[in-house]
Symmetry: C2
Subunit: 207 residues, 2 copies
Amino acid sequence: MRIGELSKATGIPVPTIKYYLREGLLAPGELTSPNQASYGEVHIRRLRLIRALVDLAQVPVAQVKEIVESLDADDIPLHDQIGRAHRALTPARKPTASPEARAAAAVEVDALLTRRGWTVEPEAPALATLIETVAALRTLGQDNLVAFLDAYAEAVERFTQLEVEAVAAPTRDQLAESVVIGTILGETLITSMRLLAQESTSANLWR
Amino acid sequence: MRIGELSKATGIPVPTIKYYLREGLLAPGELTSPNQASYGEVHIRRLRLIRALVDLAQVPVAQVKEIVESLDADDIPLHDQIGRAHRALTPARKPTASPEARAAAAVEVDALLTRRGWTVEPEAPALATLIETVAALRTLGQDNLVAFLDAYAEAVERFTQLEVEAVAAPTRDQLAESVVIGTILGETLITSMRLLAQESTSANLWR
DNA sequence: CGTTTATGGATACTGATACTATCCGTCGTA
DNA sequence: TACGACGGATAGTATCAGTATCCATAAACG
C-alpha cells in the first residue's frame, strides 16, 4: 500500500499523514526504493488510533506520540507502559491554589487515598491535579461537593473494576492497547454520558 | 479596588486581566473617571472561577465566556442556563467514524437512553460525542468495553445523584454557579481519581 | 506643585500547536 | 518516455492565549 491508498483507506489527507510521520506518531513505511515506501494494516490501525485520540479525546499530538511510544515499548512491564501513558494524559497545569489551600487539600486527599487503600506513587501527576481540584473547590466555596469525595471515589472504583473486567485480550500487545484505549476513550464515554444524565436530571428537576 | 490591587489579590498579571476584560470574561469595573475604574469582591470571585476553568479544567477561553454569560443570564430558567453551559463544554469534534459505524452506534446509544429512561434532546452535543465514541471503540476492536455501556451508565447515574444531593445553595444565582462548577470541576475530579484508581489497580495486577 | 507611577483603552507582537502548501528530484505506470 | 505520485525537506497559515507597547490622563508622593 502506498501513501495515497493509505490516505484513501483512512480518510486522512496525505499531508497530514506526512506530518504524523514527521512527528513520529506513525512508523515509517518499509522503503522499497529511496523514494517509495509501502504501508500495511498496522499503519491503518495506528492512524485510526491517532485520529480517535486527537479528534475525539482531544489529546495533543505531542502526548499521542508518548502514548504510542509506550504502546510500542513492549519490552517494559505492563504497569510501566500504563504509567507512561498516564503521565502523557495528565497535562502539566499551572498551580491555581494558594500554598495554604493546597497544603490543606493535600492532607485531605492523602487521607482519602488511605481510606480507599489506593497505593499510588507520590509523584503521580494525577495526584497533583486531584489536590489542586479539591483546593479549588474549597476556594470557590463548593465545600458540599468536597464532602462527597468518598462517594465519588467509590463510584470511580466501580469504573476501574468494569474496565479490568472488560480487558480480555489474547496477547500482551493487545492488552496494553486495550487498557490505553479504555483509559482514554473511556473518559470521553464517561464525560458525554455524564452530561446526558445531567441534562435529563436537570430537565426533571428544574423545567 | 483598582486593577493593580485586583491583580495582587488574585495573582493574575494585569495584562491578563485586561485580556479577560477585552474578551468579555470579566465585567468592567465601575468607572470613577474616564480612565479610572474600581473593582470589587465580585471580580475576585469571577477571576478565581475563570482561573479554575482555564487552568485546571482546561476549558478554552471562548467557552469560559459562554459559561460565565450563562451564569449571568439569571433571567432564563435554570435548566436553560445549564443547557447553555453544557453546550459550551462539548467542543465541536470532527467526525471520526464512518457513516455506517456511526449509524450503528446511534441505534445502540438510542436503545441505551431508552433503557435508562434518560430524556435528552436529540441535538444535545454530548449525544453526538457519545455516538462517535461508541463507533470509535467498535472500529478499534474494543467491543468488550462497549458491552459494559449499561454498567457505565449506572455508575454515571450515581455521580449525577451525588451532585444533585451536593447542591444546596440558598439563592438561585448560587445554585446555578454550584451546578456549573460541579459539572466542570467534578469532571476534573473524576478524571484524576480514575487515573489514581487505575494506577493502584494496575500496580496490584501487573507488577 | 511638579514629578513619578498607575490606569484605561487600543493596537501590535509573541510562542505554541496542528496542520497545509510548495518544492525538488526520483520512481512507477501507461 | 511522458506524467502523475512519492519521499523528504522547508516554509507558510490559522487559531489560541496571552504579553508588550503606546498614549493621554489620573493619582500618589515629596
